[in-house]
């Protein structure tokens, strides 16, 4: 088992991880996270696992969709047009 050789707090490292990965930390905060990680192998592995979770969400977003989007769109437009007041403004 790897030991953490940093006197810094792993709990603070953990709390900063999402902001670290999303790039919302200040330069000083980012440096503190990176320094802790260099001297704390358990936190380094933890970060890599956390990063995989974040990246997987993005990959799920690029999945092919199972339905016919054009058909959905036609249905939306037809429903919208049908619901409009007949004497309302009409433009094209």
């Amino acid at each position: 088992m790897n030991e953490c050789h940093d006197s810094g707090r792993c709990d603070r490292f953990y709390q900063a991880l999402s902001d670290f990965l999303d790039g919302t930390l200040s330069a000083a905060e980012r440096q503190a996270v990176e320094e802790h990680m260099r001297r704390c192998p358990p936190c380094e592995v933890y970060l890599e696992q956390f990063r995989r979770v974040v990246e997987t969400t993005g990959r799920v977003c690029r999945e092919d969709l199972p339905a016919d989007f054009d058909r959905v769109m036609r249905g939306v437009m037809q429903a919208w047009k049908a619901a409009r007041p007949e004497n309302g403004p009409q433009k094209n």
């Binding site: 088992m1 790897n2 953490c4 810094g8 707090r9 792993c10 709990d11 603070r12 953990y14 709390q15 991880l17 999402s18 902001d19 999303d22 919302t24 358990p42 936190c43 592995v45 933890y46 890599e48 696992q49 956390f50 995989r52 979770v53 974040v54 997987t56 969400t57 993005g58 990959r59 799920v60 977003c61 999945e63 969709l65 199972p66 339905a67 989007f69 959905v72 769109m73 249905g75 939306v76 437009m77 429903a79 919208w80 047009k81 619901a83 409009r84 309302g88 403004p89 009409q90 433009k91 094209n92």
Partner: protein
């Protein structure tokens, strides 16, 4: 809090005036991406289609009420997530992980891990499947936060507006959700307790 730009307000005004080209523009701009979002949360093609269709019609029909306090995109996602929430509540889905900070008891009084036998994950399809399966077990709000935050072009403030939480609260929800998925996946992949 994000605000709508002039384009959003103009588009909403044109739709409210009955301009079909404007309605099509909005549906094309938001529809495909929203469809993906609905499908990922519902995992049911027919239900995702219904939620998307109802949302887009609600956006078009409600365009006259759009006041520009948030972007059109964030406003639209706000409507969509309510429709998805209704469908999921009807299903009676129970969340299994993520109700609490999964690491709340993981540190000793000096802030160190009590136990830290973290094993690196391999780059395999199995890892991806396990992580995805763990995401499915999150409470709805955390899944929404993860999905909204992964959308390109929707910044943190807009995602928070769509979720009806503060940006700081969104950060907390997001972090807890990610940590819960990590812990769930680690238990399945590496035998971590």
């Amino acid at each position: 809090m994000p605000v709508a730009n002039a384009t959003d307000l103009d588009l909403a005004r044109r739709i409210a005036a009955g301009e079909e080209a404007a309605a099509e523009e909005l549906v094309r701009a938001l529809g495909r991406e929203m469809h993906g979002y609905a499908w990922r949360l519902l995992r049911d093609a027919a239900a995702a289609e219904d939620a998307l269709q109802e949302t887009l019609i609600a956006i078009l029909q409600g365009a006259a009420k759009f006041d520009g306090r948030v972007s059109l995109r964030a406003w639209g996602y706000g409507i969509l997530r309510h429709k998805i929430g209704d469908l999921l509540r009807k299903r009676g889905r129970e969340a299994a992980i993520g109700e609490f900070d999964p690491e709340r008891d993981s540190f000793d009084s000096s802030g160190r891990w009590k136990s830290h036998d973290f094993q690196p994950w391999s780059e395999t399809a199995e890892t991806l499947q396990v992580v995805r399966a763990c995401m499915e077990r999150l409470p709805l709000q955390q899944r929404e936060a993860l999905e909204l935050s992964a959308l390109q072009g929707l910044d943190g403030a807009e995602a928070a507006a769509a979720l009806e939480v503060s940006p700081a609260n969104l950060r907390q929800i997001l972090h807890r959700g990610r940590a819960a998925v990590r812990r769930c996946a680690a238990a399945k992949l590496g035998g971590e307790a």
